[in-house]
Symmetry: C2
Subunit: 319 residues, 2 copies
């Protein structure tokens, strides 16, 4: 069939042949009782509930095809949705994917995108169970993720308690460092540049935090100060971080920051897209989490560092 | 806050203020235990499974803002996803929505889009439980729908049996008629032109078909011949329709077809986007369904009308 021609475009292959290519040979996890190919898929929701979230990525806004391979883009699209399920204390079970692209896109690129998505879905143990392909002026990728809370309450943003330890798992500032290196055309620091293209959320740690009694949690997608600000505001409290707790992250990006004349602390406090998890714990955080501060006072959601407001930006907003 | 200024743009309002506007005052159905505002929502999945599907709409490809109001676009985006859940025999429980638009889009337009989405979601009894807003060069809307199969097997495309009655509920050819009228700048036939902008899927009839023992079902999104072709091919059988069964649909678009010099039969056989449901029944179809043909022979998925192949096109493909 036309979809088998690796040199063909999406328009030449045709929608149905391309979808056949994207779907062929994938292995669904046991919870998927009906995968792609019908009007809808059917996925287990063992505790009688399902967690659901969605994220959209626009070419040249959230990724650049001259920086990222389609494989990288696929991994990133799945990872950032998976991180949102982790941040509720859940385990991802399935993804559905909408993909818009120009008709002259090489079919092989769409296959590579799907391969990257499956790579990341396999890491979290979930299946890609359905999707939609449409013609669009640029690449658009929209993912919705489903998750299993395994009978537990979701870990929300508003549950932090005064005196709780604020802890983080996963890296901070790496993606922002990588972005700035790419943006300035600096070719060194391969690991940081790579991290900007493919985040590495700490899979499994959301569930671990929930089991350890986390009172609030979110993923660091916009920036540590911005995202912790959501927790603080929703909880009606303030948060005070310590430079001591952040020095490992700062050290990891200090050389790169020097190379571009940036402040490594800004990257760690305001850089998003690493999809680390940040949570609050009345007791000790579980293994793999590092304390970075404490919930203080009764407030309106201020986040300080060693008692002082940060003069830089807290994170990213769309538009 | 800036989001309260009806004359503001998305960029002026800012992402979080706009989201506050879109979310404020919405009433979630009882199955939604956690709505928007956290990293993910939580929705009931009473029988321990969830049906899930997704559809993406691109401005100027799937809708035009000089034909449709944002409210219409919102209704259509929800309706076409709801129809996919209906087509499995399910009941919609929740939607998540990704929305991309230029920063200079009026915030009031985004609110109108959300109002249209909620109008349609209320019709099906489901909630819009989460979303993502991003900056994009044109409007992009991606919806994922969740559904409850209420303990029943999903009604798939591949279960048709020889001798089954083929029946349809909902209208055929109206959306294609309306599209052609819009495209040719003809101002009459208001109901048909309106139908192209906002489809009216026969909500509840997917569940009714499942309860009546439907052996296969799909929604007519690409065209009756194309979509029935999927059922026939998946079932390893052929389908023969009868002009007799289709005359009501043909009559309904005959005047409009005459006005643009089109063949009304092509609209009924090949027109998509009405999101009618077509299904096969070993016994009589339930009330509200009309027989249009029969499953015949053992074949490779041919769909004929009174024994003859249709010389026109079977329906639409992307690209």
């Amino acid at each position: 069939m036309a979809g088998d021609d690796p040199g063909a475009t999406l328009a030449e292959s045709g929608e149905f042949a391309v979808i056949d290519r994207l779907v062929a040979g994938r292995r669904q996890p046991p919870g998927v009782s009906l995968g792609p190919g019908d009007d809808a898929a059917v996925v287990a929701a063992a505790d009688g509930r399902v967690a659901v979230c969605t994220d959209m990525l626009i070419q040249d806004r959230h990724f650049r095809l001259d920086w990222s391979t389609p494989y990288d883009v696929g991994r990133k699209a799945i990872a950032q949705n998976a991180a949102d399920i982790e941040a509720m204390g859940g385990r991802c079970t399935a993804f559905v994917v909408g993909f818009g692209a120009p008709g002259d896109t090489a079919t092989a690129q769409a296959v590579e995108l799907a391969d990257g998505m499956w790579h990341e879905a396999d890491l979290v143990g979930a299946g890609i169970v359905g999707g939609d392909m449409v013609s669009a002026p640029q690449w658009v990728i929209s993912v919705a993720a489903l998750g299993d809370l395994e009978g537990r309450d979701p870990v929300r943003r508003g549950g932090a308690g005064r005196g709780d330890t604020v802890a983080v798992t996963g890296d901070l500032g790496r993606s922002e460092a990588g972005y700035t290196l790419w943006h300035n055309g600096i070719r060194g620091f391969e690991a940081l540049r790579r991290r900007h293209l493919v985040p590495e959320p700490p899979y499994g740690q959301g569930r671990a935090a929930a089991l350890a009694g986390a009172t609030s949690m979110t993923d660091v997608s916009d920036g540590l100060l911005a995202d912790l600000g959501h927790i603080a505001a929703a909880s009606g409290l303030d948060v005070d971080l310590s430079w001591d707790g952040l020095h490992g992250d700062i050290d990891a990006v200090t050389d790169a920051a020097a190379a571009v004349g940036a402040d490594p602390r800004q990257w760690v406090l305001g850089g998003g897209e690493d999809h680390a998890l940040v949570a609050t714990f009345p007791a000790s955080p579980p293994p793999g989490w590092r304390p970075i501060g404490r919930v203080v006072g009764v407030g309106d959601g201020r986040v300080t560092v060693d008692g002082a407001a940060w003069a830089g930006t807290p994170g990213w907003q769309s538009y």
